[in-house]
Chain length 231, copies 2
């Protein structure tokens, strides 16, 4: 039985929050921490703290969010409830239910203390999650938000045998790159709209929870299409 949950901190700004997140993970049996683009002095202060846990000392430091979640099959982005107004988001308890007995390697992604996740970060997420705080309250502290999610997910992220082979975020990113190449050979991509289009397409692929086999098929088709197109 393995604890299958990766916690990803994107651009954390406070060494105490990095340490507190790692500590809460350890409290609830999680060990897989990735940190995206931390500011070097912040990172160094966090890992050199006398009480740094082994979770923190073993954390992976990644340049991009895409790299941090490349092998994950379900990427869940977090934000304050207000941030997701009009979008569909789930609670930690609902995520726990969804993960119960599932075959996913899930990642739970937290943004920086000041700005949260950017829209580009969110385009890498299959799903959005909010902790149900009261209206008009301040946003949650990062270390406390991580603690609540780890507490809620503690029993629902272990599995024995693999079942459905979901596509990983990295495999979908590779399919997206092929699709963008194909579209780049048409006038569908206009000067200036490439980044926006890439985000939209990524969201639309992630929304559908594709299997590894479906993504393989898609990539094969895209490669053949590309090779038949004029540059």
């Amino acid at each position: 039985m393995r604890s299958r949950l990766r916690i990803v901190l994107v651009r954390p700004r406070d060494p105490n929050n990095i340490g507190a997140s790692a500590r809460a993970m350890k409290n609830f049996g999680f060990a897989d921490l990735a940190v995206v683009a931390p500011w070097p002095p912040v990172w160094n202060e966090a890992v050199s703290a006398v009480n740094a846990s082994d979770v923190l000392l073993n954390a992976r430091r990644c340049a991009t969010l895409a790299e941090a979640v490349a092998d994950c099959t379900l990427v869940v982005g977090t934000a304050d409830p207000g941030r997701f107004a009009g979008k569909s988001s789930i609670t930690p308890a609902e995520l726990a239910t969804d993960l119960k007995g599932s075959d996913h390697l899930p990642a739970l992604v937290f943004g920086s203390e000041k700005h949260g996740l950017t829209n580009d970060d969110l385009s890498h997420c299959h799903q959005l999650l909010s902790i149900p705080t009261v209206d008009g309250c301040p946003s949650m502290n990062l270390g406390q938000a991580v603690a609540i999610c780890c507490y809620e997910l503690r029993n629902e992220t272990r599995r024995n045998e693999p079942g459905i082979e979901w596509a990983t975020a990295g495999e979908i990113e590779a399919a997206l790159a092929l699709a963008m190449d194909v579209l780049g050979k048409t006038d569908f991509i206009l000067p200036g709209n490439e980044a926006e289009l890439r985000g939209k397409l990524r969201r639309s692929l992630l929304n559908r929870q594709l299997t590894k086999r479906e993504v393989n098929t898609m990539c094969g088709a895209l490669r053949r299409i590309g090779s038949k197109m004029q540059d």
Copy 2:
């Protein structure tokens, strides 16, 4: 509808934890914070922080735990799971279920970061609560433990009308004082065992969830017994 939960921090040592506890309370709609015997420099640093919430600025500072919970009808003490080995403790989710629709004014009591609650502190508690962390992990950070409890109890501590009139901790403490006076007139109290006996008797009164009426009757009986005894 009022949020009926008091958070009590006993001898907190870190201003950041006091601030983080108040912030988490605000996130989940709680406002009633009491702090027992904080070290003055720690307290002053916490309340003078630029981001101090109104929960913190309105917190009551008490000399003793008995004072902090005097008007509460259910006092729940927290500790790491290992601390309660062999004793019966509940989880935050179980407490949420117990409080659902109840007529209690509950207090949730957290000890200092270093030592937790003392046995004397615990003798003031009707019930014990542990957050279900994994074996052999470090103890939880105070601010994170408060956040998890507030998250779990956010929907279960509001009520409309009073129903059963439970005795408050202060009323039980008054009954205990009368009982100790009566016992003091016998040879049941030996030199040196008074504090231990007081703790045992308190625990035994709190274990039974007495109503206001039962405690009033008990006090009346103890007063009459006392007045008939020779000094």
